[in-house]
């Protein structure tokens, strides 16, 4: 018994000691929170320069996309001190600003002569401003991102496939410009034998738990005529969210899912979608632009085997879903000064240029408007074209609730075969109306 007590005492003191040591060792380090993805690894590389210059060490907390919003919104709402810097998703900005999670950056920008005019306008509105279109900045645009497509250039350029395709559909096999073309290509490749392997048409977002299927389906919805609200009357959604045209868009997405995706594609987001393309399973692949540098470098499907195209145009417009994030200072952090130093360093033009070369998407005009930019990488021009047509989800403080509703309604219809597209969107209007009523906005 005596030894048990000794053991317990020893254990207790060891615990205290180890926590004390680990706290002391990293007192000056900054922790940056972001999603676990390729650009985050590039940022680790990039940040080594910051540590060299300032002596401030960097620690990173990266969480997979499917847990990212969940984990970090929880962290912010619990007023935790884990993150000093956070690269938070574009839609969080409203809630983070109104609830004081982020430090407002206007004074800092003025002092350090950082001008938001130097950044791509869409990214400033999307990642920094709340309320939207007012000069109130809560983040520095850090990573531009937008949904686009990649295709298997090598398969598209096979003469026998080109011939067969032309005979069947009456037009040259190439990157699709419209959704009909996209569907035809996907149908054409679905379950085709290529080099002794069964391949499939397209891999698209269908993830249920976080934001996956919404980030996929909105691309199509926008182009078919869906709008979040009456452009002339805020929060008036009836007939805009659930217009018959929007329902057609949703039907299209289901058609694409039912006909042309690989088996077991019911829970696909960025990682899974990229994996499907990388393993040579699909001809077309929807994903955020951040995946392109990695895919281009891939030994199996990269190089001249891969091509890029912007989201096709629909009957009512031509849009692409905005992704990407700004970098913010967490107001609960004890090291805000050092964190601001990091942002100042990050806004530097040379750092931004290196950021782009390492695989991050810089939002600095000086980088993307450089005449050499479109030719700097094979996907650079597609990225620029896509960034010119972006549209984002609600960035309201209630964004998470709005997103949850959309995830449920769309997934229930597209993947779980429940009800019709019109019913799904009608229910969505009801859900969203409830949210805005609870918020006192309607």
């Amino acid at each position: 018994m005596k030894s048990t007590w000794k053991l317990a005492l020893g254990l207790a003191s060891a615990i205290t000691a180890s926590t004390a040591v680990s706290n002391a060792a990293h007192a000056e380090d900054l922790t940056l929170c972001w999603a676990a993805w390729d650009p985050a690894n590039a940022l680790v590389e990039l940040s080594k320069d910051f540590t060299k210059q300032t002596g401030i060490g960097m620690k990173f907390e990266f969480v997979p996309w499917t847990n990212y919003a969940d984990r970090f919104l929880n962290e912010l709402n619990s007023h935790g001190k884990l993150c000093d810097l956070i690269i938070g998703d574009s839609q969080w900005i409203g809630g983070a600003a109104e609830n004081g999670h982020y430090v407002k950056l206007n004074d800092f920008f003025d002092k350090e002569k950082i001008s938001m005019d130097d950044f791509v306008p869409a990214t400033v509105v999307g990642y920094s401003e709340w309320p939207k279109n007012t000069p109130n900045y809560w983040a520095l645009p850090a990573m531009g991102d937008v949904v686009g497509w990649t295709y298997r250039k090598d398969w598209f350029s096979r003469p026998e496939l080109q011939k067969e395709f032309k005979e069947k559909y009456g037009w040259e096999l190439g990157p699709p410009k419209t959704y009909d073309q996209l569907l035809q290509i996907a149908e054409f490749f679905q379950k085709r034998q290529i080099d002794g392997k069964t391949v499939y048409g397209a891999s698209i977002y269908t993830e249920r738990g976080s934001e996956g299927i919404t980030m996929g389906v909105t691309n199509v919805l926008y182009d078919f005529g869906f709008d979040y609200q009456n452009p002339n009357k805020a929060y008036d959604m009836q007939g805009f969210v659930n217009s018959p045209e929007a329902a057609k868009g949703l039907e299209f997405y289901k058609k694409l899912y039912d006909c042309c995706t690989p088996p077991g594609s019911s829970n696909v987001y960025m990682g899974e979608s990229a994996d499907a393309f990388k393993s040579g399973q699909v001809a077309l692949h929807m994903n955020f632009a951040f995946t392109w540098p990695g895919l281009y470098k891939d030994e199996k499907v990269g190089g001249d085997k891969i091509g890029f195209f912007t989201n096709p145009a629909g009957p009512k417009g031509h849009f692409a879903q905005l992704g990407g994030q700004g970098i913010s200072v967490v107001s609960y952090s004890d090291k805000q000064e050092a964190a601001l130093k990091y942002i100042k360093w990050f806004a530097n033009k040379d750092v931004q240029a290196k950021w782009w070369s390492l695989g991050g998407y810089s939002c600095l005009n000086a980088v993307v408007n450089d005449p050499k930019f479109p030719a700097s990488q094979p996907y650079a021009s597609t990225f620029l074209e896509s960034m010119a047509i972006v549209k984002d989800f609600w960035a309201e403080p209630s964004y998470a609730t709005l997103l949850q509703a959309m995830q449920k309604r769309v997934h229930d219809y597209v993947v779980a075969d429940k009800g019709t597209a019109q019913e799904a969107l009608d229910s969505l209007v009801k859900d969203w109306t409830q949210v805005f009523q609870d918020d006192g906005k309607m």
Binding site: V44, P64, S78, L82, K297
Partner: protein
């Protein structure tokens, strides 16, 4: 049919034993396959792990374990060739995939968190539980039955339901994402189990020992210390292991109330990803390391298991 050969006075016939044995062994083998698969996957390379058909025979590799403990970045072959010779097995392994080790992963700190929180809360729960169990066992406590039931009823709550107010309370107290907060919470959850189990164990220790000790001039406290505790050692050890297993395996509270500093292994392991999707060999490696202590405990505990899982309701 073997059903008709149920219990007889004499031992079951050799034949019925053989059939029963075959079925049970068959079930055991099938039910252990997923665990063996986890173990095997942890020694596969990522391509082997997603091969079709699933590979049963494969060249073992430590890549999963390397990936579990490191973070890596992809580099061009030129860059890697320019580096000096690899500095270790893991370095060499990841370089074959055109990657370099960027630093340690978060697995080790999360594992240490698991150790601290599980052992800390177990110690507290068993300590409090022993005292209360003795109190309930030996003294007439007013409303004892109600109190005991109240202690048990705290286990009826769905963890998410408990987590909502705890989340708010911890936010006010600054206990969010701290080891102390998690230890307190796990102690509170475990103490109900500890009280019930230990009360059963202490009830079984005859009062005569203490009474004899008290006649010898010991106080009640000394008698408790001298006679009851030594005899309850087995029970205390078994209870401790049950508390430990709960705290070790717990997911819901950990996922909702911790985000990094005090996060334990269960919410962390499912978030281990490679390039793109989940890095299954690394996940399997983490799972294997995480499961081994529990496997050992299960074997140690098998005689006490029944009592533990039924809150002492079944004692045999």
């Amino acid at each position: 049919m073997s059903l008709t050969t149920a219990h007889s006075v004499v031992a079951p016939s050799a034949n019925s034993k053989r059939i029963a044995g075959a079925i049970v062994v068959g079930y055991a083998l099938i039910s252990i396959v997923p665990l063996l698969w986890i173990f095997a996957t942890s020694f596969k390379t990522p391509p082997d792990s997603i091969a079709y058909p699933p590979k049963i025979v494969f060249q073992p590799s430590l890549e999963g374990y390397c990936n579990l403990f490191t973070t890596r970045t992809r580099q061009t072959p030129e860059y890697i060739n320019a580096l000096g010779p690899a500095t270790g097995l893991c370095d060499a392994t990841v370089r074959k995939r055109n990657m370099v080790i960027a630093g340690p992963s978060n697995f080790l700190p999360r594992f240490v968190n698991s150790l601290i929180i599980a052992f800390g809360s177990t110690f507290c729960a068993v300590f409090l539980g022993t005292l209360s169990a003795y109190g309930f066992s030996r003294f007439k406590v007013p409303l004892a039955d109600d109190l005991l039931f109240f202690i048990l009823s705290t286990r009826f709550m769905p963890p998410i339901a408990v987590a909502i107010p705890i989340y708010l309370m911890y936010r006010e107290l600054g206990l969010s994402d701290t080891a102390l907060g998690m230890i307190l919470l796990y102690t509170a959850v475990n103490v109900s189990l500890a009280v019930w189990l230990l009360k059963g164990f202490i009830d079984e220790i005859p009062r005569e020992y203490e009474e004899a000790a008290m006649i010898d001039g010991y106080t009640r406290l000394q008698a408790f210390w001298r006679t009851v505790l030594p005899q309850a050692t087995t029970g205390i050890a078994a209870t401790a292991i049950f508390c430990l297993i709960f705290a070790w395996n717990e997911y819901a509270f950990a996922a909702l109330l911790t985000s990094g500093t005090a996060q334990t292994a269960p919410p962390f392991i499912p978030t281990i990803i490679g390039e793109g999707g989940q890095d299954w060999p690394a996940v399997a490696a983490g799972t294997t390391i995480f499961l081994v202590p529990i496997l050992v405990f299960t074997i140690l505990l098998r005689k006490q298991l029944l009592r533990g899982i039924t809150f002492g309701a079944v004692r045999k």
